[in-house]
Amino acid sequence: MERLLEVKDLKTYFNTDDGLLKAVDGVSFYVDEQEIIGVVGESGCGKTVTQLSVMQLIARPGKIVGGEVIFEGRDILKYKPHGEEMRAIRGGKIAMIFQEPMTSLNPVLTLNQQLSESLMLHLKMNKEDARKRAIELLRLVGIPSPEARIDDYPHQFSGGMRQRVMIAMGLSCNPKILIADEPTTALDVTTQAQLLELMTEMVERFRSSLIIVTHNLGVVARYAKRIYIMYAGKIVEEGTCKEIFKHPRHPYTIGLLNSVPRLDTVGKRLVPIEGLPPNLTNMPDYCAFLPRCPYKTEKCRTSPMPDLRDVPGEGHRVRCYVDIAEVDNVTVK
């Protein structure tokens, strides 16, 4: 079956003063229709850049240097970033919600102005219809008395409310895919839960697919069907949600799981991953996780960066020389 979106070997580099920064270096993933997937990784691992590359929203000094993004059977990277075709996809077929609700809305435009413009652009609505639809959308995402508030400015809303508005905006044109880039990071726990609930409910309603980007495995646990773990610009493990949680194969995934509060770890101390993510400008040619890896072997040091390899379990792949399930399965309880 044809994938709705398939990203193949995507490479996005930044030409910085310190040298070439490989923010995304050979990332491949896919999404099927009405599927929810998760992309998880620490801050700075390249999640956002990956998604922005899909949207062709990489600004200088960044550049997509390789790979394909096949959407509905066509490589949309071939489109000009600001050409007609790409613009039709952006916001129309693939929408994106950003991680900072406080700054992602234009402070000098009313909600109506900001919501209506996509509607008018992609769905060719006129002003009145767009306004009606915008009110409708705000109601759907749970803004109280939307008729009254649609002419308010963003600063008159709380962070959670603004993210609801962002969701409404993202879904306004009925996109095939909604990319939610850490939509809840800046919010308190209760609001996070509500928003995730809302988002999944909404994509179901709109029959869209959803890519949840987060650094918190816990966030995607309930909703995502499949999960991609990213580290230093690369996918290091992928598989179904179940597989990943039950049989994590990559030391980094294990570390992530240990740092996430879970029902079965209640009462246990959370263990953050020691050390810092590597500097992406001068990457070693061996495994990028090595400096922080509790499982490293001599082989890891002497061999090049491992490739993703299939491991038991449906679609489960991991980028590691060591077969962790064999070595240790006490780490994850």
Binding site: M55, L57, A59, R60, H82, M86, R87, A88, I89, R90, G91, G92, A95, M96, F98, E100, T103, S104, L105, N106, P107, V108, L109, Q113, E117, S118, L121, H122, Y153, H155, M166, M169
Partner: protein, 319 residues
Amino acid sequence: MLSYIVRRLLWGLVIIWLVTLIVFFVIRLLPGDPLLIYLAQNQDINSMPREQIDALYREYGLDKPILVQYANWVFNLLRGDLGLSITYRQNVGKLMLERLPVTLHVGMTGFIVSLVPGVLVGLIAAMRRASWIDNVVTIISYTGIAIPVFWLAYILIYVFGLRLKWLPIAGYVSPFEDFWLSTKHLIMPVICISLPGIAATARQMRSSVLEIASQDYVRTAWSKGLAEKAVVCRHILKNSLIPIITLLGMRIGFIFGGSVIVENIFAIPGMGRLLVGSIFAQDYVVIQANALIMAVIIILSNLLVDISYGWFDPRIRYD
């Protein structure tokens, strides 16, 4: 909003009062005596009998203690009387009515002319960052800021007045008298007044746009699939104009400052020229009135600027 304006106006009155106070006393602290200069100008010093000279001092109230002079001046001001000019021997209000429209005509034209191209040029430079347009704009704006006004004025006069003979070199004609000729007279002074403004505005606009363009909400706008024009016009422009407005508030002051040089070079009968003459003649009354009017205009325009912030930036509240 209304209470805000009223409060600001009251503050403005306080500031104006301070300005009058400072100007009044500072010019009187300077050595020299305006009547003496006036009499010397007319070579009357040794023909006018002492009593007559004393009578002149009395006429201007210059024989009174300085505090009384101040009180008289303020009292007359409150009645709308700006006083009698010492050199012109005419009511200063009348003089100002001759001069102010001229300066406003030249200055406001310069102001508007500096505004629109400044904003446009800055915007284009920012949108085409690091392109040749950007480089040219940067060079020209640095030049525009660095170039002294009088130098620019003489280059313009040399090129357009002397060599090409396209424009009259000096003088002023009221637009109600002969609009076309008036405009021709206006071109060079307006360029001189506005070029530094264009340059400063363009530079400010460029950095402002660059800053706004990297804001998250602009990324949001792009992610909606909007065309560049829509992103720029709807999402970037208005936001990046906010810092420009501050600049504009200050430019009003510059216009009066710049008019002093420009009006002298191009022989324009405005406030600036009057001020220069009055300073040489130490005509207290005219200098005071000049300072007063400038203070009022600057305070009002700053108020206008602050109010217009509200229009540009809904986050600002007036209370």
